[in-house]
């Protein structure tokens, strides 16, 4: 009997391991990491503090990608236009290469900026996917709405950035295209998806978020030349107020304008023609510059090391409105709209103009000085066919978008 028991016991032990599949999958992962599929819970998106939304890690992950992207993206765009120039002996060569149209698709810095742009898109899309998987019952509406709004809004911004700043095709006679999900995709297609995504964000937006999203939408519609007949509805939703700025904080990470063009850097300098264009007190107030005694080049003083980057601003909303007035898409007073911007930076009124003709040249000037170091000048030079005042005539540049790293082409 004992023998039989022993035999049966051993055989049972041998085959008991056939139920080991769950044991295999219960292996511990590092406490530093989280695996896919574990982030679809309301608390990962955020919480409510007396009705106010508090960021959870999923939303912070999106914002962190925006922090990674925006200041270098705007700095690159500035170097391709006439905002930023290269000093004689730069440390990092990327701004000189951008200024001098020496882009190389093998450049590691290009890979970095393209990666950052795609990371903002993929992170917001990833989190949007988790938001859709999440069981929201039991959580406050403010958490769900903010979760969706941040995901849609930043996904829309990411698509806008990808379509506006990047192009795999140096040949200007052909349509611009980039790579999305490993596939060639025209910039115009990406723009349309961006518009649709930002529209979807409106369904979850609070009043302030609606103004922000509408500002982003109006900008997107203008830049992509997809201006609908009801553009006034979007423009009106931008509203007139001076508390619109959306900033992304750089508290733990240096702002690129400071690291590349600040007091301790010699990678880049403020383009002298830009300094010359600062003709009003408002323009100077908004664009403080100084001469770096170390190397005698002009540096910016707007951004300190950890200063936030503005990505949607009241001033931009006003200038978008001015552009729509200029092109008769909406009604309004062009001069008063511009003067609201002047007074935003010079509340003495000394920078106000009596009359400003609603002309492209004027609009371009005010956009140049009040939307400086904000990524807009590159877009303006391209869409208004400006020659610009950079090191090269903008229209003769080979690259009018940022090139895409060649790892995309190899697939």
């Amino acid at each position: 009997m004992k023998t039989i028991y022993n035999t049966l016991f051993a055989i049972v032990m041998i085959f008991s391991m056939s139920s080991c599949e769950s044991w295999i999958n219960d292996a511990e992962t590092s406490p530093n990491v989280i695996t896919e599929g574990d982030m679809n819970k309301p608390e990962y998106f955020g919480s409510s503090d007396n009705g106010s939304f508090v960021f959870g890690p999923n939303i912070s992950s999106i914002l962190n990608k925006a922090i990674d992207l925006y200041s270098p993206l705007y700095m690159y765009a500035g170097a391709m236009s006439d905002e930023v120039s290269a000093p004689a002996t730069p440390n990092s060569l990327i701004y000189r290469d951008l200024s001098q149209d020496n882009l190389n698709v093998h450049d590691g810095s290009l890979r970095g900026i393209w990666t950052n742009a795609q990371s903002l898109y993929s992170m917001s899309e990833l989190m949007l996917g988790y938001a859709k998987e999440t069981d929201w019952s039991g959580s406050e509406a403010v958490v769900k709405n903010n979760a969706y709004w941040y995901c849609y809004f930043y996904k829309g911004l990411a698509l806008y950035n990808l379509a506006s700043y990047f192009n795999a095709n140096a040949d200007k006679s052909n349509d611009a295209y980039i790579y999305m999900h490993g596939m060639k995709t025209s910039n115009s297609t990406v723009y349309l998806e961006a518009i649709e995504t930002l529209r979807q964000s409106l369904a979850y937006a609070d009043p302030y978020q609606k103004r922000v999203a509408n500002t982003a939408l109006v900008r997107l519609m203008i830049m992509s030349n997809n201006i609908p007949s009801d553009i006034a509805n979007y423009a009106n939703e931008m509203m007139i107020a001076n508390d619109l700025d959306v900033t992304i904080s750089h508290e733990l990470q240096s702002n690129t304008f400071y690291t590349a063009m600040g007091e301790n850097s010699r990678d880049a300098m403020v383009n002298q023609t830009f300094v010359d264009a600062l003709s009003s007190k408002a323009a100077v107030n908004h664009n403080p510059t100084t001469i770096n005694p170390g190397n005698n080049v002009t540096i910016q003083e707007r951004f300190n090391q950890f200063d936030p980057q503005v990505i949607i601003s009241y001033v931009e909303a006003e200038l978008l409105r001015a552009e729509l007035i200029m092109t008769n898409k909406i009604s309004g007073d062009f001069t008063e709209t511009i003067n609201r911007v002047n007074r935003y930076y010079d509340n003495t009124g000394s920078s106000d103009e009596n009359s400003i003709a609603p002309l492209v040249d004027n609009l371009v000037h005010y956009r140049r000085v009040f939307l400086s170091w904000y990524g807009q000048r590159l877009l303006d030079e391209r869409r208004f066919n400006l020659e610009g005042e950079g090191e090269l005539n903008f229209q003769t540049r080979k690259w009018q978008y940022i090139a895409i790293d060649d790892i995309e082409y190899s697939n």
Binding site: P31, N32, M183
Partner: protein, 951 residues
């Protein structure tokens, strides 16, 4: 099958009463040809489990129920003999005759489920008698025991420091994996083989193999490739090393005390430096001590025991490099009629001090070689003040129970556990100038590694008739490997002598990392034996692991084999042909299979960032191997020949992801099964007695082996990866050297040297040798004096001499007076001696261009070498001691002198070609480099004196 087992069970029950009733008692003794008692010889009734071993006097008492039973007497190294009971009762003294190459008695691990005799093993499994090896070579660690002992296995320490890691090149090395370590199993425990580099570079990592006390080891077996190791599954492509520790053999207690003194010196001076005195004078004479006391025997309750206490205090020739290890071991085992059990435990406490002599800026070797004036980056006093060490506590233990519920049927269970707690400590103290650090810096790590394995198995021998049988085996196994590292790094202490973590002004980093690997496998095997001559087998293993992608359900590894043995032919005592096919794997690295996001702090709060993109389809790299061979034994000569063909598929290559595919390129590589590599090789060995005098006063044994191996990358899925001078690309060997070199350029008018041009990258060699091997002899004189020698060699490989390149380019042309690289300085001065345009000028200009350090290709150097690895003189002074002291209490006494690494002949321009500055094996999620010399400390020359006494 069930009916058969029940039937056998029934027979057992029926037969038992008569078995008890009529028993014959046989008393006898077994002696050697010179009439000495043979202790531990097996006296067994053929085709039963009934057997005993001889005692300290060679005596045995065997009870049998059958008066016509056949009794077989056997002992390793002697020809086995069989007798009828009646014959044995008539002549109870059996004289055993030596048989130099008796494959019939040596048992080796043939698969995870069973051990077999070498005779019946259809693959080339190496068996090393470690006690003999220690006597012959002065070896004191696993690396030196394996070195030169196994054809097709190149083993060496990655540098000359005590405690450093071990590099294994197994057969053709047809893999991109940086994890090249074989599975090591000691007494059934899956042993941790990690190389700990928590507070050092990988070059200075502490090897977990250090904790193995070779004086505790009885034998080491090596299964080299998938055809032998397929039963071990998804991690076995690098082979399996089976270590058996000692057991008590006799009823009488035996005590062995052994003490060794080891003197270490620099083997050779540096000759390629302008000012070589600082580095040559830096090395010292190190003196270490090993002491071991082992007790073995068998208790009255028939429990065999082996216990040992061991202290190893190694001091290398590098100042400050010491490795102190205290080890305890207790092995117990018992064999009953229907059961066997064994319990093994080892505890080790170790402390390794690692002087900074790697490739880093503040390394002594770099600071003493870089420029003519030594210590350019820190003072010698500051270097001496750096304190780096690893302390570890380790327990290795296992237990096995084997039951024989009825004849020919066994069930068994085995549990193994190995835990290593390693504390790492790296201090740059306050008050010295270490660049930006002047107030001190410290890093501390707590690293815990656990390995656990559990196996259950059953096997049944079905005797079809007297000549043929089938053996069926089934094993279920789980392996768990767990690794946790906590670390903190701080700087800025308040004053000298105060370096507590809490007193630091700045925390540089805190981290906590965990990795766990789980594997579960089944293995089933059938072996058929006919007439003890034909052996045919087949088996299959199924594995699951958390490191395999979720879309890959499980992995299957088949094996099949056959061997045939001819005995007593006119031209051979024994001739065996064998063939085997097997497949086994290398698991993906941690995080290859599952996408992970890492927690981080951002300005907006806690967040996740991309960490590693997992591939749900990733599966283990798979190596297929066909092995064919023969073993030929004639009198006292044995030749073994093996050829093998390998193809590795699903080789893992880590690629950059296009960011548009949803994962940022620079946030970890993406693992894909893209590669295919082919490998092949030939292994040939000879062992034999080439001279034996009639009086036995002189006996000369000679051995030699040679292995040829090659590999070629067949496919990389179109990926080309270059890391420094190393490449992964189709058509070249794995990790081939593929890079550019310099050529001098001249002014077309003046003919003066103007600089250099760079050649296109080209194939310049590879880090794994075409040929490896060893040879040597044992000369036994006057029965008590033995002289042994072991030579190792390798040919057809290259090293990237980063040391010379870095020294050569440490200064530019303007600073040539400070340049310490003699070939560069001499070439420049010679060039200046001649007229531009002359042949001599052009020659020296090209030499100057090739030695200015700009291009890696100029420093890819041949590594061919021949080394006198060991020369040992051993004196068996048992008789002398007995006669002098007039006592019989000594069973044996031996004194030996060994010299290791006594001579080195090499083409290599550096100090020693058998090192690797990239360190030993480790997980790496990217292409890497191998075969480099990076200010690496060369191997020491050691002199060992050993006294061994057995009471």
């Amino acid at each position: 099958m069930r009916l058969r087992i029940i039937g056998l069970l029934f027979c057992l029950v029926v037969i038992t009463p008569s078995y008890v009733m009529a028993q014959t008692i046989i008393k006898g003794s077994v002696v050697t040809e010179d009439n000495k008692p043979l202790i531990g010889a097996t006296v067994a009734e053929i085709n039963t489990t009934n057997g005993v071993v001889t005692d300290n006097n060679g005596h045995f008492i065997l009870k049998t129920s059958r008066s016509d039973a056949q009794i077989q007497i056997s002992f390793i190294g002697y020809k086995k003999q069989s007798f009828r009971v009646s014959k044995l009762q008539e002549s109870p003294v059996v004289t055993m005759k030596q048989d130099g190459f008796n494959l019939d008695e040596i048992q080796v691990q043939a698969s995870i489920s069973n051990r077999r005799t070498l005779r019946s093993t259809p693959v080339a499994v190496a068996h090393i008698d470690v006690e003999d090896k220690l006597l012959e070579s002065g070896a004191d660690n696993l690396t030196s025991v394996l070195s030169g002992s196994v054809e097709g296995l190149q083993v060496f320490q990655v540098n000359g420091k005590a405690g450093s890691g071990t590099k294994f090149n197994v057969r053709s090395s047809a893999s991109f994996s940086t994890m090249k370590d074989p599975i090591v199993i000691i007494d059934g425990v899956r042993m941790i083989t990690s190389n700990y580099s928590d507070v050092t570079s990988s070059q200075d990592a502490m090897s977990a193999l250090n904790d193995l006390n070779m004086d505790d080891v009885a034998s080491v077996e090596v299964m080299k490739g998938p055809s032998a190791a397929a039963s071990y599954g998804a991690e076995a492509s690098n082979g399996v090393i089976i270590i058996q520790t000692k057991k008590g053999k006799t009823d009488q207690m035996s005590v062995t005390a052994k003490v060794s003194t080891i003197v270490s010196k620099s083997a050779d001076d540096y000759s390629y430096l302008v000012n070589s005195a600082p580095i040559n004078d830096f090395y010292q004479t190190g003196v270490g001590t090993n002491a071991n006391v082992g007790i073995s025997g068998r208790s009255q309750s028939d429990v065999s025991y082996y216990a040992s206490v061991n202290y190893r205090g190694a001091e290398s020739y590098v100042p400050g490099n010491t490795d102190d290890r205290l080890g305890l071991r207790l092995n117990l085992d018992k064999k009953g009629k229907w059961y066997e059990w064994s319990v093994n435990s080892q505890y080790t406490n170790g402390k390794l001090s690692v002087p900074l002599t790697d490739q880093s800026k503040y390394s002594a070797t770099w600071n003493l070689m870089r420029t003519v004036e030594p210590w350019p980056f820190l003072t010698e006093e500051a270097w001496n003040a750096i304190d780096i060490q690893y302390d570890n506590d380790r327990y290795i233990g296992g237990a096995k129970l084997k039951l024989t519920p009825f004849k020919d049927f066994h069930v068994w269970g085995n549990v193994g556990y190995d835990q290593n707690n390693v504390f790492g400590y790296n201090l740059y103290p306050y008050g010295f100038d270490y660049g930006s650090i002047s107030k001190g810096q410290k890093k501390e790590t707590n690293h815990t590694t656990k390995s656990m394995n559990v196996e259950f198995g059953a096997d049944y021998l079905w005797r079809v008739n007297d000549r043929s049988n089938f053996q069926f085996s089934l094993v279920s196994q789980i392996n768990r490997y767990y690794d946790r590292v906590n670390s903190i790094s701080v700087q800025d202490f308040p004053s000298p002598g105060v370096d507590g973590i809490g007193t630091a002004g700045k925390v540089n980093g805190v981290s906590e990392n965990v990795f766990e690997k789980r594997i579960q496998g089944y293995y089933g095997e059938v072996n058929y034996t006919y007439d003890d001559k034909l052996f045919v087998g087949a088996g299959i293993r199924r594995d699951q692991s958390n490191l395999i992608g979720e879309n890959v359900a499980s992995i299957w590894y088949p094996q099949m084999n056959a061997a045939y043995v001819w005995d007593d032919m006119r031209w051979a005592d024994q001739f065996k042909v064998r063939g085997a096919y097997g497949e086994s794997g290398r698991l993906p690295n941690p995080y290859d299979a599952q996408s992970t996001y890492i927690g981080t702090q951002t300005p907006t709060g806690s967040a996740y960032d991309y960490y590693i993109k997992g591939n749900p389809n990733i599966q283990p790299e798979r190596t297929r191997e066909l092995e064919l061979g023969l073993d030929w034994t004639l009198t006292k000569h044995r030749v073994a020949f093996t050829s093998y063909f390998q193809k590795t598929v699903n080789s893992i290559i880590y690629t950059d992801l296009p960011p548009s595919e949803g994962w940022p390129t620079n946030q970890g590589k993406y693992a894909q099964n893209l590669g295919e590599i082919k490998g092949s090789g030939i292994e040939l060995s000879y062992n034999g007695t080439i001279y034996q005098s009639s009086s036995d006063n002189l006996k000369v044994d000679f051995f030699a082996n040679i292995s040829y191996q090659t590999n070629e990358v067949l496919s990389t899925g179109g990926v080309v990866q270059n890391v420094w001078a190393t490449t992964i690309r189709e058509g070249l060997p794995v990790y081939a050297f593929y890079t550019s070199s310099n050529e001098a350029t001249f002014d077309p008018t003046t003919k003066e040297y103007t600089g250099v041009s760079t050649t296109d990258p080209e194939y310049l060699g590879k880090p794994t040798p075409d040929y490896t091997g060893s040879f040597g002899f044992n000369v036994k004189m006057y029965k008590n004096l033995t002289l042994s020698a072991l030579f190792n060699y390798a040919m057809g490989f290259q090293l990237y001499n980063v040391t010379q390149r870095n020294i050569a380019r440490a200064t530019n042309d303007e600073g040539l007076a400070l340049n310490n690289y003699k070939p560069r300085v001499e070439a420049y001065s010679q060039m200046k001696e001649y007229t531009p345009g002359s042949a001599e000028y052009i020659y020296w200009a090209n030499e100057y261009a090739a030695n200015n350090g700009a291009q890696r290709g100029d420093f890819i150097q041949d590594g061919d070498f021949l080394r006198l690895s060991a020369l040992t003189l051993s004196y068996d002074m048992t008789s002398f001691v007995k006669e002098t002291l007039k006592t019989d209490c000594f069973k044996s006494a031996r004194l030996s002198f060994s010299g290791n690494n006594l001579f080195l002949w090499t083409k290599y321009e550096g100090s020693d070609p058998e090192i690797d500055g990239s360190g030993a094996s480790s997980f790496s999620r990217s292409a890497t480099y191998s075969g480099i010399d990076w200010t690496t400390v060369p191997r020491a020359r050691t002199f060992t004196t050993t006294l061994s006494l057995t009471f």
